[in-house]
Symmetry: C2
Subunit: 509 residues, 2 copies
């Protein structure tokens, strides 16, 4: 039996990989601890983590503190913003005698709101399950093999925040565990800073960082959030887009009306909202709001060169997503994320499907998010949209319109601006940036992809403001993770590769 | 004390009302039985009645049979359509020896679907409660006074179907009870026919009527559904609009996408749906679908004269509904309901409010209802809408598009046509129509309003087809009943007046 296995091994052409590199040691440790790691991660994912759910946010924070203490981190504590009833950040550190540099790792442990009804049968946001592949490709819920048996790395773990961004929190702590358990020691000081309300727009992060400025002081911020490239290749991002959300509500009659007795006569707010939303973008997706693309800082020569490292992959993504055509009139995805965007996150008026009734709805609502690039200012960008609404004849108000306002203005739009922030970007040619690039490149045979900016957003402008240091994003999760949507998931191989990536960054000298 | 009351009575100028008219007898009976009547009606309303909920539909039907038997109706039975698992109609009759005429009363006991989350705090669709007035005017949930104490007729009963249309079922049976308990006997045969799936579009009513054609044979159909005029005046309608529902779904990527990583590039189905809906109507609400207003039969001279009996009330309704402007470029409500309409009943894409997430939704859905007038054909009207969608560049399909279709067509709209039916109208100058007009006019000092058609819909074309006889609608409920929406309610005075109206029709000679 043993002989047969050996022969198969040789026949397949495998060579014994080197076992003495830092990467090999992390891999070996992980391979012999997969069941324990996934059991612990599943426990973590089972704790609901919407930022507004304070009791569960507290349970998440306590769980993270336990994980930190078990791994021997020092100075483990909650960092409060000083505003009552807001999610704390969780902090822990590794003090290295004689260190000349401090690297601080950021991730967030809260997740996007969930609508369990939209998740697939048997898959619920806070009841982690394993599938033997991707749900979209027909994979099924499957129990893990018995402890000691190998786990197929193409399997996936389904739960809210499995990818975004408990994978960052857990991946960092597991990477550090793998380093120390295999006798490897960082030469820098390491700090871990895990936020609890990123998905709510980080409304108190500025206050929190200002309050704990000394504790957080660092030479480099490593941001562990977001996916690797759609091709599966590792990538680094040197910036993030800014983001701001607007909730729009338009009004019909003060109560829903019978569509027979009032149809044709009472205005329909769903139609009004449709017309308003339709006026925002043309058929190619270009935003029609006046001046929307002004203010954009041009890319530097180095950033343009970095963009050229991004593989041509749009056709594959279109096929994967069942898209016959994309917005932007043929421009590439990587070009488009270097522009400000306007997206409809959701819209609703009365009910559809089985709950639909023959009514003229009373209101209609849409949620927009505006992504911002370097040069945009969030308040200015919002003001452009408000000016556009007014140009469509709308009376715009920030609060619920009164009876008198309703009777005075045929067209009313309530615009609620949620907390937002601007874009941020780190220069690619900083010496420390080069060190990170080299460390991560050493963990992969493929050419590392360098993004001047990620399409996603993080409140890195606050880092710049309160604890200034270069910020570099080191993402680890699979691109098709359904982050923010239903059926969020993490491909196990991405977690395993991620441990090696993050451990390499922790060993920077 | 008694003397004081008597003096107040005289000082207020009241005269003792006549006590010997049929109307006075019905009123006196009702006044001494209000508590019993409302207790029984509340029990009836507590049974959920969405047509797809077969177990509860069965409980409603059994409850109605009991009410019929208690009132001495003959031949009480369920009428089945012959299609398994479809709501039965409930039938009962009063055979009058020597009668030369049969009058059949129609109402429906099912109600529109409900979304309990949209109802006001403390008010749930199937837990009837009394409010001391209208919710919109600040009324509160209030317990009824003790038995024997008078009940303010401005109070309202809140529950799904309180107005539409258990009020028809219960009002008819209570009116008959009041007649017989005060010794009054109809000279005609009376039949009661209560449908159980009107709000689902009466998909089996034709089969059901065809099957029980002999039992249902009649000289006159009286339809008890819909509200009295907004002014509070009694009205009769001689026709109904037809109705057909369309569910539209448009598509983006096959899964929801992170709005940062894919925004600007992946098409947004909410935007596409908004553009499609916006293309259907102009800013005044006029439908832009080609030929939409063709096929409309003009009103007869008599019908135009009848329309002139409708009071000018639009300004009052606008004020009540907080509407600064109405659709139709200034045309009156009563004119507008004599035209075909296209209404958005509901629309949804991903989530709004607290459940909103930063995603590009995967699909967007809208439900339309098309009201039809005499001359329109439902299939032809739907085809016009489909042609309009195609003209906007959409590939229209009746079924879920496949991967191949999604990859082949940039714009896809799934159109699901739900069951529908055409409009129906009875001539105003038929002798029996004149009898009904005279009977109802005798119960009110105000001039009776005569509508050639109601704005609402009922499948009366099926009556014409299977059990032909003139159909006249005799509505009783308040206009501001929120029928089809949340917080549906019945004003008690409307029920009380309704008993007198319906009893008068039962006594037609």
């Amino acid at each position: 039996m043993k002989k047969l296995l050996l022969i198969s091994w040789l026949m397949c052409g495998f060579q014994t990989p080197p076992t003495d590199t830092p990467q090999a040691k992390v891999r070996a440790y992980r391979q012999s601890h997969e069941h324990q790691l996934l059991a612990e991660y599943s426990q973590f994912l089972a704790i609901p983590n919407v930022a507004s759910d304070m009791p569960n946010i507290g349970r998440n924070a306590a769980f993270i503190m336990d994980m930190m203490k078990q791994r021997g981190l020092a100075n483990v504590q909650l960092l409060e913003s000083g505003v009552d009833n807001t999610p704390p950040a969780v902090f822990g550190e590794v003090r290295t005698p004689g260190a000349t540099r401090t690297i601080t790792f950021y991730a967030h442990y809260d997740g996007q709101p969930v609508n369990p009804a939209q998740w697939a049968p048997g898959i619920q946001p806070f009841a982690p399950v394993f599938l033997n592949g991707s749900l979209e490709k027909g994979a099924k819920i499957t129990a893990l093999p018995a402890s000691g048996q190998p786990i197929d790395p193409e399997w996936r773990l389904y739960a809210r925040a499995a990818a975004d961004d408990k994978a960052g929190v857990f991946g960092l702590l597991a990477a550090y565990e793998a380093l120390t358990k295999t006798g490897q020691k960082p030469t820098a000081n390491l700090k871990f800073f895990f936020e609890g309300e990123e998905e709510a727009g980080s409304p108190h992060l500025g206050q929190l960082m200002a309050r704990h400025r000394e504790l957080l002081k660092t030479d480099l911020w490593i941001i562990c959030d977001g996916p690797v490239h759609q091709s599966g290749r590792k990538q680094l991002s040197f910036g993030v887009r800014g983001d701001v959300n607007l909730h729009l509500t338009v009004y019909g009659a003060r109560r829903p009306l019978h569509s027979g007795h009032y149809g044709n006569w009472a205005p329909n707010p769903a139609l009004r909202l449709a017309k308003l939303l339709a006026s925002l973008k043309d058929d190619t997706g270009r935003v029609l709001v006046e001046g929307f693309y002004d203010d954009v800082d041009p890319l530097t020569e180095l950033e343009r060169q970095a963009l050229a490292t991004v593989p041509e992959y749009d056709e594959e993504i279109k096929k994967e997503l069942w898209l016959a055509q994309t917005d932007g009139g043929g421009q590439k995805l990587v070009e488009m994320i270097n522009l400000p965007s306007l997206n409809i996150n959701g819209m609703q008026s009365a009910n559809v499907g089985d709950m639909a009734a023959n009514v003229i709805p009373a209101t209609a609502t849409a949620v927009l998010d505006l992504r911002l690039v370097r040069g945009n200012d969030q308040a200015r960008q919002v003001q452009k949209v408000v000016a556009h609404l007014e140009k469509q004849g709308y009376f715009v108000t920030a609060t619920e319109p009164t009876e008198a306002e309703r009777l005075a203005h045929p067209l009313i739009c309530k615009v609620e601006k949620k907390s937002g922030y601007n874009a941020q970007r780190t220069k690619l040619d900083l010496p420390i940036a080069k060190l990170v690039i080299a460390a991560v490149q050493a963990t992969t045979k493929d050419r590392l992809i360098l993004h001047p900016t990620s399409g996603g957003s993080l409140p890195l402008y606050l880092f710049e403001q309160h604890v200034p240091a270069p910020t570099i994003s080191v993402p680890i999760v699979n691109h098709d993770n359904n982050q923010h949507g239903e059926n969020e998931n993490l491909r196990l191989q991405n977690l395993w590769d991620g441990l090696e990536t993050l451990a390499a960054v922790m060993l920077i000298k």
